[in-house]
Each structure stands twice: as structure tokens, then as C-alpha cells.
Symmetry: C2
Subunit: 198 residues, 2 copies
């Protein structure tokens, strides 16, 4: 029905997370209806990103500069290093705007099931960054609160403590705005155990 070029575009769009075959078709038509305002700019933006964006050799963030803008920012605190699983997690923390230290992207978690060991993650890079002569005082392990994330956190703690840095992790508890009735037992238990004076 539609030309081969359009079908190819629909197929590729359908592989984006959040778009299925049907919404990909809608998206392709939307792009064709907005050639100058959306199709051309999107093609350019993709080419730009493909040409310029690279993985920061220091922290693993994605940026058009290497080292990335966060690693190059002299106003950030070298003493604090936050370890995250993925670039998405790094961006989430940055959006919150509460952390002014540096990051380290692991690139995943340990997983016996999927056969991912320490060699598959950027663990050596992390140990090198907190090694002798480094200014890192505290490593905040911000892996996800999943079984694999927590396993990875324990493994990293064991590797980091001999380096003489203090190792911390994010607090568990009730999400801000969360209702107790909708929380799982694990979160409620953790929140109760970690209760603090008013």
C-alpha cells in the first residue's frame, strides 16, 4: 500500500520503546504531514547525535564532549562519586538536581541468570577512579532496588572498602507523595526500620 520507503520507516519506528506497529504508522504519517517542522529536523537531529554523541571515557555518560559536561564541570565535588547502573539513571538523578558530585555508569548489573559477571561491567574503571591518590572520599551506590541491583551493590561494597573510601547507598522508604496503603510490605518494613526522629 504505502511505498517501500514508508514501510521501512514504520518498521524502524516500531522498534522504539513505547511505539508498536500501529503507533509507528501514526508517527510516520505525522512525520509526513509535518515535513519541514518535524521530519527534516528529526533526520538532522539523528545524524547529529550519531556523529557527535559518544560515551564519556571517564564516567560512561553519553555526551557530545569527551570527557562529558559533568566530568568537565569544575564546580562539582570530586569527593563524591555516585555509581549508577545506566545513563538513564544518571539522567534521572541529574533531573532531581540534588547531587553535585560525579557519576560512574556501570553499564548494567551482575546477573547469574543472564551470565553477566564483573568483567561485563565497568568495575575496573570504578576501582581505578577511587584508587590511590584519588580525591574520592565517598562512593554512593545508587543501583536499583532490585535483587540484581542490590547484589551488585554488595559486590561493589566488598571491592571498594579496601580502597579506604566510605561506601553509602540510597535510603529506602516511603516515596514522597506516596500512600501507605499502596506500598508493598518490603518498602513499609524498610521505612519503619529506618524511622527518624521528628
Amino acid at each position: 500500500m504505502a511505498g517501500a520507503e514508508i514501510e521501512r520507516l514504520i518498521q524502524l519506528l516500531a522498534r522504539l520503546p513505547g511505539l508498536g506497529p500501529r503507533s509507528a504508522r501514526r508517527a510516520a504519517l505525522h512525520l509526513l504531514n509535518k515535513r519541514d517542522a518535524l521530519l527534516q529536523p528529526l533526520a538532522l537531529a539523528l545524524r547529529d547525535v550519531a556523529d557527535k554523541v559518544q560515551t564519556c571515557a571517564r564516567c560512561g555518560n553519553l555526551d557530545s564532549h569527551n570527557p562529558c559536561a559533568i566530568c568537565s564541570d569544575t564546580r562539582r565535588d570530586d569527593a563524591l562519586l555516585c555509581v549508577v547502573e545506566s545513563v538513564a539513571d544518571l539522567w534521572a538523578l541529574e533531573r532531581s538536581g540534588v547531587f553535585r558530585g560525579r557519576y560512574h555508569v556501570l553499564g548494567g548489573t551482575l546477573s547469574a541468570l543472564d551470565g553477566r559477571g564483573p568483567a561485563d561491567l565497568n568495575v575496573d574503571g570504578l576501582l581505578a577512579r577511587v584508587g590511590d591518590g584519588s580525591r574520592v572520599r565517598e562512593v554512593i551506590i545508587a543501583t536499583n532496588a532490585t535483587v540484581e541491583g542490590q547484589t551488585t551493590a554488595h559486590y561493589l561494597t566488598d571491592r571498594l572498602l579496601p580502597a579506604g573510601v566510605s561506601v553509602t547507598r540510597l535510603a529506602h522508604g516511603v516515596p514522597v507523595g506516596g500512600e501507605l496503603d499502596y506500598l508493598d510490605d518490603g518498602t513499609l518494613g524498610a521505612a519503619l526500620k529506618a524511622r527518624r526522629p521528628f
Copy 2:
């Protein structure tokens, strides 16, 4: 946080139907994680579509050929002309595979509220196609079953009947696989009124 190039890509992706700011960010990361398999091909496909796909001068379909593949297909029946609001509707009918005539894309509906009159739709093109010496015997008006779609259908019928063609429209009724309990009264009423012998 992310480079300007990535932010620009996220902003453009977020303007696609079905993607919001959050899923656009996920899509951008997905693209960056699959540079060779997805990012580069998508950039190429968009460029290809932008360069090659055009609106068929005869029917209004989008295709890399002009006239489009449907208008050029000699096995199709010139006597049947199906009028649709949009290219999306044309594609939907083509996917069903039940229609072997030609199409005509109006490019919208009449709408007093939005100030769209006959001059904003491809009505003159339609009348020219069913005019003297044309092989069109029947025009099937397949506008949507909305108020605006039906208004447009009535308007087109008034304009087409003097040309001596027969004008038909899609049947209303229970969708195949549909449950009566979930249907609105209008559809049920139409289905009952148009009941047919077993």
C-alpha cells in the same frame, strides 16, 4: 545533563504521537544504545522518506511514485472510487485487503467549528475524477462515522449525484468480534435497523 544534541533529539521525538517527554528520553537512549542497528538506519530512512515520498497528484495517497502504486495498478477497478478523509484511512482499508478499486483522499472533513470549508478539501479533484467521460460508476464514501465525517458525506453526496454516479457509504453495525454489552446505543440502533435475513 545530556548534550544539546541529545536534548534536541528528545524534544523532537516527544512531538511524535504516542511518545511523551519521558518515553522520548527512553527512545533516545535506546537509539544511542543501538547505533548501528537502529539510529543510523532510522536517520537514513527519514532522509529517504523526505527525499522520495510525495503526495499522489491523482488520489492524494503518499508514495515514492507519482501517480502512486494504487493509481498505477492496472489490475484495479476504475469503476469503483472510495473517498476517505486521510491517508491513514486509505492504509487501513488497504490492510483489510477487501477493496480493489481506486481511492480519493479528501484531506480532512468539513468543519464549521474549525472553519474548514469545501475549498480546504480536495473536492474539486474528486468531481473532476467522476466528471464526463470518466469510468467511475460508483463512489463509496468512507468518511469516519463522526458528526463531521457524516456532514462531509452528505455534502459530497449532494455534489456527486448530479454527475450521474451512484453514491454509497459504509454500513453501520456491530463490529466483528464486538460484544453488544459494550456498544453504544447509536451503533446498536443502526445495527438493528439495518438487520438482514440469515
